[in-house]
Symmetry: C2
């Protein structure tokens, strides 16, 4: 069975590969994500390649094999279902649950995972709006507009918050910016790098373009 370190390398490779068109992940990005020095990543990736979990293209990067992707998706599924459990059942603060899930994702068995999934009603996304991989190994890759790129004035529904930092999530929570919330962009000042926002019946407030880009939104639908 994969060690905790192996699971982490594979999970982060999957997450980084998602934002790269060809699925090739540079060594440096992986090392940064895992908070190890580059040499450590090289050593480990070579070992993963020997185990058939990744393909290593020296000096270019790595990509997951089918088996590596399978393992990575299973870990990600555990992570996101655990987060959902911690928020929906244990009522924990969504800013904390990422750190908790980083540990638990390596400790829960597939049997427990299945029970949790059933208890939670087979959710499609976690509390941050991140898609939960299915048992069969499919992962939604839907792309949405963000508060930095969407049309102004229209009513929009928040669908995903793509920054797991506790500080950012606490800020978002404080302004009601969690999946399901409805808001509209009042103004976007590019030179100043500011977006002005209003939630239903609340006071307008501003946030940076960088922060706004982390909030994914969709048009509000009937019902």
């Amino acid at each position: 069975m994969a060690t905790i370190a192996v699971e982490n390398y594979l999970k982060h490779t999957l997450l980084l590969a998602q934002r790269s068109p060809d699925g090739l992940v540079p060594m440096g990005e992986l090392a940064t994500a895992l908070q190890v020095v580059p040499g450590t990543a090289t050593t480990m990736v070579k070992a993963l390649a020997d185990s058939g979990l990744v393909l290593h293209e020296p000096r270019r990067g790595l990509r997951l094999t089918v088996e590596g992707r399978r393992v990575a998706l299973n870990v990600l599924r555990k992570h996101r279902l655990v987060e959902t459990f911690l928020v929906n059942v244990l009522k924990m603060d969504w800013a904390q649950v990422h750190a908790e899930a980083e540990q638990l994702e390596h400790a829960i068995s597939d049997a427990v995972l299945d029970r949790l999934d059933a208890l939670l009603g087979h959710p499609a996304t976690d509390p941050h709006g991140d898609p939960i991989p299915s048992v069969e190994g499919t992962l939604s890759s839907a792309v949405y507009a963000t508060l930095a790129s969407c049309a102004t004035k229209a009513s929009l529904r928040v669908v995903r918050v793509t920054d797991q930092t506790a500080d950012f999530l606490t800020f978002a929570e404080a302004h009601g910016l969690r999946p399901g919330a409805v808001a509209q962009v009042l103004d976007r000042n590019l030179p100043a790098g500011l977006v002005t926002l209003r939630r239903l019946r609340s006071k307008p407030f501003a946030l940076s373009l960088a922060a706004a880009g982390k909030i994914w939104v969709a048009p509000v639908e009937a019902g």
Copy 2:
């Protein structure tokens, strides 16, 4: 923070110390419990002693320090609350949950532990009847009679099943021998090493003295 290995050494030391009047645990017992060779236990115990978690009395054994006991109780509390959660909430088979909890006990934070404890209604024992250490670090050490030592004919309530082996728990479950069940010892044949038992309205059945000694019982009380 304590590593997984350290937590396991301390937890098993606590469990073994409970069945020793002076709290001294022989090296060999610890090594057997942890499934390591004796030399490994010696090495590790010396390291634990350097960290102030145990006292090592060379060639005699080891005992927990106050700090070591504190850590061990916290791990044991996690283990038993997780087992309770897995059985009571996720409805898992009580024969499986010990193995699951062995992993999870090292991955759940104190914050999650507190929420779990509240969700479960602050239980005093786990599904096997093993006492759950309190947040304050107290652990019931109540001793009961067993089906191998109790009076015959009297109605008795099962309070604890002290063998976490999946096979044994499956056997016990099949005969309804879980905490709360009521049964009476019909006969005890010492030369044959057999105990004959009957649960309310069920057919009598026999089990070995060794097996009977693992089932703890108390007099049935009114209500």
